[in-house]
Each structure stands twice: as C-alpha cells, then as structure tokens.
Amino acid sequence: MKAAPWVERLGYAILVVAGLVAPFVVYPVFAMNVLCFALFASAFNLLLGYTGLLSFGHAAYLGAAGYVTGYACKAWGWPPLFGIALGTLVATALGYIIGSLAIRRSGIYFAMITMSFAQLIFFLAVQFPWTGGEDGLQGVPRGTLFGLVDLSRNLPLYYFVYAVFLFGFAVIHRTIHSPFGHVLRSIRENEARALSLGYDVARYKLLAFVLSAALSGLAGATKSLVFQLASLTDVHWHMSGQVVLMTLLGGMGTVLGPSVGALLVVALQNELASLGSWVPVITGAIFVVCVLAFRRGIVGEVQALVKRSF
C-alpha cells in the first residue's frame, strides 16, 4: 500500500525545508558531503533496487567524473557548471561502454565485470600524469556561478549543491515512477517473463545502467568542487562497497532509503573519525547486524511497520 498522496507530499515538503535550514544547524561541508553521497546512493539504487542489478564498480563513475571536473576547472579554468557537465558526460559515456559489456551477464558475473572495469579506471587514475597519482588532484577552484555567485564561501556553495541534489533526486524519482520504471520493475521481478512479453530486456537494463552512471557522475563531479579535491579514494573499490552498504542500510528499492543510509554512514564516519582504523570494523559490524536483523533496511522496515499498523 502506498501512503495517501498528500501524506507523501507533506513528507517531501518537510524534507525540502530541512535541507534548506541544514547548513545553519550542522557544518555546511558535512551537509554537502551527505548530499553528494545521498545522490550517489540514490543513483546506485536505481540499478540495484529497481532493476535488480548489483554493480560492484560504481566508484568508477563517481571518481572519474570527479577527476574530469576537477581537471577542467583547475587546468582549463572552466566555470563550475561546465566542469560538472563535462564530468557527468564522461561518466555517462563510461556507463554506456561498461554497461554494454556488463549487461550480457547476470548475477555474480555482472558484479565481477563491473568491478574489473572499475579497477581498470582505478589504475588509470594512478598512472595518468594529469591525475596527480597518489596525491590526487588538489586545489580545485570552486569558481563562481554564472560569474555572479562566489562559490568559495560555504553557504552559497551549499545551496548550489542542494539544487544539484534536488535535480538529481527528481530525475531518479521520476524515472522510478515512469512507464520506463514500470518495465524496470517487471525485469527486476521476473526477467524471463518480461522478455516473453516482448521487452528487449538488455536495452532497458542498459538505459538504467547509463542513467545510474550519469547521476553517480553528477554526484562525483559536485563532490570534487566541495572538497576541491579528486582523489584515489573515490575510484577505489572500497567506495563501490560503501555505496552498497549505504543502500542496503537505508533500504534498497525505497525512494528515500539510500539517502538515509548515506546520512548514517557519513555521520558515523565523522563521529568515529577519532577511532581511526576502527571505523571500517564498526561500519562492517553495523552492516552485519543490518543484514541479519532488518533486511529491508531502515526505510523498508519503517514502511512495513506503517503498513502493518494501518
């Protein structure tokens, strides 16, 4: 059962307002970090939660877009919007190439292919002269928006990032609730049946993959401006694993789950930063508890609870 439309709208309105006041309540850079990861996880969820494809190489799109945007803004002096557009475009193209090859297989083989390509991107990032190797691409200028708004200050940048997030989230929300989204769900539910209804399953999967890669790229491109940095962390396979964690923790196949998961994981990493190398142990333990005790993720469990009590 779906909640009544007005309940849903009210819920979203509250969240939008919360996003508007967030930088006055928490440190703006933290909030921006959460938004970037929330967009990344939501894009990933389009593939895992709504198409049923587990990619284990989504760091490639996040990271590659970050490097390209960072380089365009730093070396060529591009304004931030163009830089982000180029980064997103590159991630889209990468998604098309890797996706075309990966969707020929399913299950674990699909995951392995996506992961191998992501490793390939990782090694390119280490080897290319323009990426800065181990140091990464540092001192990326944030620039000015339309030549008017100075993004080097945190508050205007926050609202810029927030706008990017809302745009990306709206695209995902619409995609899920579109004719295309319905076909995706049917593929997730029963691929052979969708095929026997005359849908060229591979082409639908590919479009979902490309959209997911593009929006992951948008998240990565934006993130590189926030931190003024594109580094190997973002293309490392740990990152591909982290986005799986965020999505499962928050609730895969739910609209808001990945964002909740991203908030939780980023907040934990921040709070626990003083514990150093214990952080992955703790997030790992949380992951185990999540998988054992509440498989539907936080949002999924809440939805089930609401459904049962009404």
Partner: protein, 250 residues
C-alpha cells in the same frame, strides 16, 4: 488443408555438449487447434518450448511461424510476433499489483516504455482494458492485491490475463495445471478452453485427463524424438506410447 499451419518446425535439434535433448522434431501446429505435447520426464518438452521462443538457440533445424522463418530471431522479437509463452513455475511479477501485472504487458504498445521522463499517470489510460482482461479471468476483485499474495491457481489466471493482454496468435502453455488441486485444475482448464476459442494453443501437460479433454492433436515425445501423433483416442492406444509411459514407470 496443408497451408493452415501456424507453426512448423523442421528437423528441430538441440544438443547440449554432446547430449542430444531434442532430435529432429517435426511439428506442425494447425491454426485454431489445441495441440498438446506430452511425454515422460526428460523427453525434451520444455526444451522444445525454449527453442520455439528462442530462449535457447537450436543446434539444427528451422522454425516457421505463419510461413516465415523465425529461427534466428531474438526472444523479444518472437514475442512481438504473437508467439507468447507461459512458464512451468507460475510467472507473475510478485511485488507488483495484479492490475500492474497486466498493465505492464499492455504498456509496450504505447511506445513510451523507454520514456523515463514521463509520469506514470500516462499509464492510467490502460486501466480500463486491464480491468476487462481481469474480468475475463475472474480477477477484477483482486486488482489491487499484490500478486505474490494470490493463491496459486489465481496466479495462473493472472498469468493468462497478462498473456492475453498481448493478443497472441499462438499461446505456448508450459504445464498450465502443474501443482494444482482439483478445483484449480477445473478452473484453469475452462479458462484455456475459453481462451482457445479465438487462438491457437500449444501446450505441454502432464495431466492426461486435461489433455484428453482439451486437445485436438497430441504429439508424444520420448527421448527427444516424436513417438506418435494424432488425436487422443489414437495415441492412447499406440503400443509404443504405452511402453514409453508405462514401461518406463515399471
């Protein structure tokens, strides 16, 4: 009437790494009939279905649908030609509502299935037709139920409604009554009869009373080859068939 064959296979053969699952099968399904494919376990019935719908590529042989060679086509293309299959295990989309299950089959004709920017409200125009189809299989009252919550027999009905949404010329039913109780078998048999009034049906079925009741022609497969073909009375007295069935059981 040699030309009213809707589906013809010529020397259809499938080998799996040297194991011959289907060997030189010549089938001719006449338009407007219910044609049953029977045979003991492992006779290759489901493999034939998979070959016909291109879920598996065949090793040798040809498949003609309405006189056109469809041997090399992709599964989705074959489905769009009007050859639509059901599956051994009931194939619904479990976590979608009954209405959505049927609607997703109707949706392709709108030509907006790749439009990820369009609202799902644009699908509402299909609801009347979807409800009509649900009426046909007696499921209208369950339109908003999540498919997974339907009892087994009803899932089969839903599958039939979804298949009918495509307005297929040829229905391939893979064991439509498998795993069902008496009541459900009766309902599904009646449903098949009703559906077949305007269409051709090729089905794999284990339940011989269903086969005897429904089918015009029966093809008996054993070890991947055609053992006998004809109406039930004839086939059921064929000594080779009796041996394959009863001899193998003993």
């Amino acid at each position: 009437m040699p030309d009213d064959a809707i589906l013809v296979t010529e020397k259809l053969t499938k080998e799996f790494h040297g194991f011959v699952a289907v060997s030189g099968v010549d089938l001719k399904v006449r338009r407007g009939t219910i044609h049953a494919l029977i045979g003991p376990n492992g006779a290759g019935k489901t493999t034939v279905f998979n070959l016909l719908t291109r879920f598996l590529p065949c090793t040798k042989g040809r498949i003609l649908f309405n006189g056109q060679d469809i041997t090399g086509e992709r599964p989705a293309q074959i489905a769009r030609r009007g050859v639509v299959r059901s599956f051994q295990v009931s194939a619904v989309f479990p976590r979608m509502t009954v209405l959505e299950n049927v609607r997703v089959a109707l949706q392709r004709k709108l030509g907006t299935s790749f439009h990820f920017w369009k609202s799902e409200k644009s699908l509402a125009q299909l609801d009347p037709r979807a409800l009509e189809l649900l009426d046909e299989v007696d499921l209208r009252a369950h339109a908003n139920t999540i498919a997974v919550e339907l009892p087994y027999g009803r899932k089969r009905s839903l599958e039939v409604a979804t298949t009918l949404a495509l307005e297929p010329e040829l229905l391939l039913l893979d064991e439509p009554t498998q795993g069902m109780g008496h009541e459900d078998v009766g309902r599904v048999t009646a449903l098949i009869e009703k559906v077949a009034e305007k269409r051709t049906v090729l089905m794999v079925e284990h339940n011989l009373s269903v086969v005897a009741h429904l089918s015009d022609v029966i093809t008996v497969l054993a070890r991947g080859t055609v053992l006998a073909e004809g109406p039930y009375q004839e086939v059921s007295k064929n000594p080779a068939v009796l041996e394959a069935y009863i001899g193998a059981a003993e």
